[in-house]
Amino acid sequence: MRQLSFSLAINEALHQMMSSDESVFLIGQGVKSPWYVGNTARGLFEKFGPERVIDTPVSENAITGAAVGAALVGMRPIVVHPRMDFMMYAMDPIVNEAANWHYMFGGRSSVPVVIWGIINRGGEQAAQHSQALHSLFAHIPGLKVVMPSTPYDAKGLMISAIRDDNPVIYIDDRWLYKIEGDVPEQIYSVPIGKGIVRKRGKDVTLVSASYMVVESMKASELLRKEGIDVEVIDLRSIKPIDELLIFESVKKTGRLVIADAGWKTYGMAAEIAAIVAENIFDELKSPIQRVTLPDVPAPASSALEMVYYPNATHIVQAIKKLLSGKEAPWRIKSVS
């Protein structure tokens, strides 16, 4: 199949959706300047013009709110925040307005907006330029949150997000942008709320999303050489989350490790651990492990960045730790 980079897969989704649906437009900072949003906006301005590709002032709150308003009356806007840290000024239109609208007005209107936030970290840019804040949005009823890890899903989920009648938070990671993969040339969708097994395995279930899937695959490869057979699940959507896929896998392996690029406390990994513990606790042979950021802001110095971001090594360590414990502590207790 044709190969495309992650960022150009997004670019293709935007081109095709804007061509096929006149209500779709792209708005945000830097959309006219290809270097600022990677090359995800390449050629859009030239093709669709300033009415549909709108480069905005530094006004995240008003621009996102305006997209919500436009979505309410007939448009399908895509608002891009080239760095999701700056999206915090848009919390009101996202959380108070978009997320609540359909419910609050008794289901009589809807807000089909895509709010696209890019995780852009590393490179010693420090705490205000490094955050992976997906869990904040996944907490909010009324929002859907998708996090692709492959070029195929990057395109397919963007298309699904645009077509969805609900506000969808589309979150991607700059660290994925150069990855190449199979991408069909036609328009296709990847269902929101459906995860996928990236690698089958029987010893332990490893759940992750977005860039952490890359590290998870690396970890599973390293462990394979040591005879440990990991099943890797790519969530693709973190809300709604594909519970059944996780449950099926954990029932098979009896062990769960979650790798997340966000913080540990109250985060995505915590949620997955909770739903597994709530629903299939008896299937677990050992405690659940989380591989996440430590609960501290992002540091600038390379010396600190090196230990800050979770990677395949951390995942390998977590899985080994989990497999080295003979039984879950509560099982030992119940035996004695």
Binding site: T56, P297, L304
Partner: protein, 324 residues
């Protein structure tokens, strides 16, 4: 009210120091020795020098992503700045902040901010505190033309004026927010006119004229200290480098080379040099001495930074909360 000889020499020295610091950073960045995002202030030195020249040591400033000039003008130590840029543990923020985040509470430097428009409310709050404590301090708040479109600008000006807070809003209009020209991001030319909506004086000054910036700031300082409230000062200026180091061709992808060259002819340092020579306040020889002394100070700063240790891995967990 003219500028004194002593003040003029001070502004000159500050501008030269900023320029030379930034040129040093530019060089270190090009050689791969400084990472991260370095947004240089070259070309805009008169703004920081003029504004901070009108402040007292006890006064506060808030700064931006393009903050090296502001903090040098307010008295930051270039050794700790350089160490911070290198990500060393001896830096102002122990290597946790980097280029965009220099703070020195002892010098009233409340912190450079990576969020465009993030500093405005913080300046207002500091001014509120100064007023509440009756301390006589004032706050100078730096921000760019691009950031003046953030809601924080409007909300902050309104609140500060409503409460007659001792703050000076200093808009550095360098005609661009990243690659977006002012024409493309706001329908007005003079951001200062927005002061009218908030019932405060709005002044436009030549931001490449340190003396003009200084004099406008003095007036605003006086007004603020007298309890009469805030002022908005718009300084028209230009950045010579790209948005940050690594922005190719000095940003020539979105602005004319001709435009860049024109602005370079209006070098704020050359301009004050002219005045200093004309008034016979400072000879060429004395200027060279000043430059030499600064060069030495910067050399020492670089050595200090290079010789300093990196933070230990465990330091990642320190300073998340105030201890105790």
């Amino acid at each position: 009210m003219g500028i004194t000889k002593q003040k003029a020499i001070e502004l000159y020295s500050v501008m030269v120091k900023i320029r030379m610091f930034e040129e040093q950073v530019q060089d270190l960045y090009a050689r791969g020795m400084i990472p991260g995002l370095a947004h240089l202030y070259i070309g805009e030195e008169a703004v920081a020098a003029g504004v901070c020249g009108a402040l007292e040591r006890e006064d506060y400033i808030t700064s931006t992503h393009r903050g090296h000039g502001h903090v040098i003008a307010k008295g930051a130590d270039v050794r700790y700045m350089m160490a911070e840029l290198f990500g060393k543990t001896t830096g102002y923020c122990k290597g946790k902040g980097g280029s965009m985040h220099i703070a020195d509470m002892a010098m009233g430097i409340l912190g450079a901010n990576g969020i465009a428009g993030g500093g405005l409310p913080i300046a207002v709050g500091a001014a509120f505190s100064a007023k509440y404590r009756n301390s006589g301090q004032i706050v100078a708040c730096f921000f760019g033309d691009g950031s003046s479109n953030n809601g924080t600008f409007h909300e902050s000006l309104n609140f500060a004026s409503l409460h007659k807070l001792p703050v000076i809003f200093v808009c550095e209009n360098n005609l661009y927010g990243i690659s977006v020209s002012q024409r493309m991001h706001q329908p007005i030319q003079d951001i200062a006119i927005r002061a009218t909506s908030y019932d405060m004086p709005g002044v436009v000054v030549d931001g490449n004229d340190a003396v003009a910036v200084y004099e406008a700031s003095l007036k605003a300082v006086k007004r603020a200290r007298a309890g009469e409230g805030p002022t908005l000062i718009e300084c028209k200026t230009y950045r010579w480098r790209g948005h940050h180091e690594g922005d190719p061709n000095l940003g020539a992808r979105y602005r004319d080379r001709e435009e860049i060259e024109q602005w370079k002819k209006r070098c704020p340092i050359k301009r004050l040099e002219g005045r200093l020579l004309e008034e016979r306040w400072l000879s060429r020889r004395k200027m060279e001495e000043i430059q030499k002394a600064i060069a030495q100070e910067l050399d020492e700063a670089v050595s200090f930074a290079q010789q300093s240790p990196y933070p230990a891995p465990g330091d990642i967990f320190t300073d998340v909360y105030v201890a105790g």
